[in-house]
Symmetry: C2
Subunit: 194 residues, 2 copies
Amino acid sequence: MADHSTRAAYTVDSLLAVTVRVFNERGYDGTSMEDLSRAAGISKSSIYHHVRGKEELLRLAVGRALDALFAILDEPAATAGRPADRLEHVVRRTAEVLLDELPYVTLLLRVRGNTATEQWALERRRDFDHRVAALVQDAVTAGQLRADVEPRLATRLLFGTVNSLVEWYRPGQRGAEHLPDAVARFAFDGLRAR
Amino acid sequence: MADHSTRAAYTVDSLLAVTVRVFNERGYDGTSMEDLSRAAGISKSSIYHHVRGKEELLRLAVGRALDALFAILDEPAATAGRPADRLEHVVRRTAEVLLDELPYVTLLLRVRGNTATEQWALERRRDFDHRVAALVQDAVTAGQLRADVEPRLATRLLFGTVNSLVEWYRPGQRGAEHLPDAVARFAFDGLRAR
DNA sequence: GTCTATATGTTGATAGAC
DNA sequence: GTCTATCAACATATAGAC
């Protein structure tokens, strides 16, 4: 073996996993390179061997989340069928991806726009939202969603509901496999008893 | 007149209004006292004349949001009547308060927990959530909400939906007066056409 | 109530050895 | 691939004049 210690050397990916955890705990701006070095167990300058700086770590993390979300829109069930069914598929899958890639999506949803990287992330998020809004519009036009629903508002409330999972879900929590279904039922059928 | 310039002197409240706007634009950690001084048009040390420091500005801002939210729970319509009606009232009023006190509530919802002040804010938020969760439980027990709804999950999705308004609503936006109603319909009746 | 000047600590990033 | 040592810039906060 060629390694000089007991712990395997970091790769960009394994360093990213540690980084994203700390970013989510303390916030991106509230996290110093010193915080990251302590959490990773290596020195600050060692981090700079893997990445150009703090902002690159953010870019890699939110890029991973965005790629996973956009992939949903290309799935067969999102591109063919009744508009309402396609929309419901996207909502369920968005919730699933959010849970699968929880720390990365959490970080994405907290990005504010201070730096160029953050603005790029916000732009891609808006693009994703617009593509879902078009799906909502189609479903309303087809008479499959309530007629009094304003498509843009409905899209925003949908994402508000789905995205709020990052506020409280913690990995391994009981009943995770039923969450995407519960979210879809909430959004499409509501809480009220009939 | 006793003032020495054209602009009225700052009070804690008027300084807070400027501060909260900047905190929401750049994030609390991303905002420096220099940023605040530039936005307020006075020097850094003048800010310290009004408050002890940056963290006190945060405490005053989120305290205002929390007081407004807790006041809802004491309103007559929240303390008497059918559980489902009381819950629906709280949801509508939470949306209203959120829109009325938008910058303060926005800041509250973004608090992470790095400092003692932030932990205090998170604790009061949890307390508010628990009191609403009890209302949801009552409504489920009374058979007024779907039986397959887990009360804690329902509460979280409710707040996720309402709180998401801060992500996109901007003051003066068209149709604001219908928003609390639209949110309540979404949450209780869902999007699907019947 | 506001200012200029400054103290004191922390930050992101680099140099260069091993 | 990791380290120690260091830097310039920027942070929060204070002192003291007007």
